[in-house]
Symmetry: C2
Subunit: 211 residues, 2 copies
């Protein structure tokens, strides 16, 4: 759902064959350490009160290093790797299927994956979503990445319909859907993340579909 766009990414894609040298393993660990330090601090004292310096200290790296791994503070919280996954799942759907139907399946899959994943993953999702309601910059960044997700959806729609990804109708449709989706997440977050997210998302798609 959120765009992955960081400098030292985990070696583009999921090359299984790569044995991953010491260097790469260390990078992964650092990246994780920064994230965890950030999550912990934010839960303790909130987003605004948490400085990069504290995050660096907690992760036992220098502030410079934090910025080498994440371009902005918001990105530490928001960057994830769902977009490529979503794109893949989306492309796997039958080409004839209406896009909304495809999205429904894909989202069901994705949300299900998180919910059945580790507890840590769920806490992360909740924290991130909470931040999105509480912090203006985080929300802004999320919206930005939503619009990137929208471009991906555009790509898929375009492929299926034979139209260009830059086609006006395609873009308007995709972003309309994104708006509806984002709002359903907001709604969920505002109510303390206690409702069934999957249910909300599906309802949002229903609403969008039938008008």
């Amino acid at each position: 759902m959120t765009a992955a766009r960081t400098t030292p990414a985990p070696a583009g894609g999921a090359e299984l064959g790569a044995p991953l040298g010491l260097r790469e393993r260390k990078k992964l660990k650092t990246r994780l350490a920064i994230r965890e330090s950030t999550y912990r601090l934010i839960e303790e004292q909130g987003y605004d009160a948490t400085t990069i310096e504290q995050i660096a200290e907690g992760a036992e790296v220098s502030p410079s290093t934090v910025f080498r791994y994440f371009p902005t503070k918001e990105d530490i919280v928001l960057t994830d790797e769902y977009d490529p996954l979503m794109e893949q799942l989306l492309r796997e759907r039958p080409a004839g299927e209406p896009i909304i139907e495809s999205m429904r399946h894909v989202l069901r899959d994705a949300v299900g994956r998180i919910q059945s994943g580790g507890e840590a993953e769920q806490r992360e999702l909740v924290l991130r979503t909470r931040l999105m309601v509480e912090s203006v910059p985080v929300r802004a960044r999320l919206m930005e990445s939503m619009s990137m997700t929208g471009r991906i959806v555009c790509g898929v729609i375009a492929e299926r319909t034979g139209r260009g990804a830059d086609d006006f109708e395609v873009r308007v449709l995709a972003m309309g859907m994104m708006g509806a989706l984002l709002e359903s997440i907001m709604y969920w977050a505002e109510r303390g993340c206690v409702d069934d997210l999957l249910d909300l998302v599906e309802r949002a798609l229903d609403i969008f579909e039938s008008r």
Copy 2:
């Protein structure tokens, strides 16, 4: 279209009776001076290269004063007073009319107003829209204000349908529409603002309406 939310607002609303003392007139002038200084500098050297200090200098005020009038740099460019106007126009539409139809009329009215307005107003619109494509923070701020506009639309829909403004369906619908609208503006901006904006907006609504 964009939310007005600044500290020294032009005396809330349009109280015609107020004779406007010297103090108020000065504030208005300062506000305008800051805006104009900003627009000029941005056109000359771009958004990022323009600092608050330069803006202040150009407007012949201190940097502190700039922040007293506008909470952030983005707000200098984006703050406008369309939201209240839109809300008013929207409420003036017949209650039975479908919301999309109402929006169509309101937008037609609003866009028309700008196009038939002064040339300065049009240049402003174009500059702002261009910035939205070029600058990440500006775009973020615009999205934020779009979601505020969405809340207003929610309010109107709620009134008409008798549902709460916090009703899930209402919110999803409103934000979906906003997404579609925003994307049509992006589309316009990306193509150099040469197409007919009104036409695009209406098409966006059509698309949104018929699915």
